[in-house]
Symmetry: C2
Subunit: 92 residues, 2 copies
């Protein structure tokens, strides 16, 4: 059993209205930032999860997204399983 | 002048209270997900930005974070400059 740091990105589905992104885009424009195109605003969740393997951790994170973390109608999600949080970082 | 896809992650600073993360942690627990440790909830922003170089794009995105996108007292931010959105993807 290891602890994995799971990173989940939840983003509004392409083509759907993203009012928060639009508001940020207008605010940047009002502050004088030029050259700003589309802004998309999503959520970034980092979850510490105990699992037997990276694959199991990813499978459970997918179920979490389907059940709670993402709206299946309006949002997409992507999952990235980070290194075992309990292991020291490997030398590079 | 190229259009870059800038990805900005804004996360609550370590050690500070993250009520949204706590709420998600409890909700996952209530739904029967076991082995869930700390949950941190942040924002993920994707901004299309016209700039002369990746370095210039990153510098402008940093100023945007300092001025608007991140709370300097409670949040950290990280910026990643993606490939030129106008160029076709390189073959790998």
């Amino acid at each position: 059993m290891s602890a994995y740091a799971i990173e989940i990105r939840v983003t509004p589905r392409r083509g759907l209205l993203d009012p928060q992104g639009k508001a940020i885009q207008h605010a940047l424009d009002s502050l004088g930032f030029a050259g700003v195109g589309e802004v998309r605003a999503g959520k970034l969740l980092v979850i510490e999860l105990e699992a037997d393997s990276p694959d199991e951790a990813a499978a459970r994170a997918t179920r979490m997204c389907e059940k709670l973390l993402a709206n299946p109608v309006t949002e997409d999600f992507a999952i990235e399983v980070g290194r075992d949080a309990a292991q020291p970082e490997a030398a590079t």
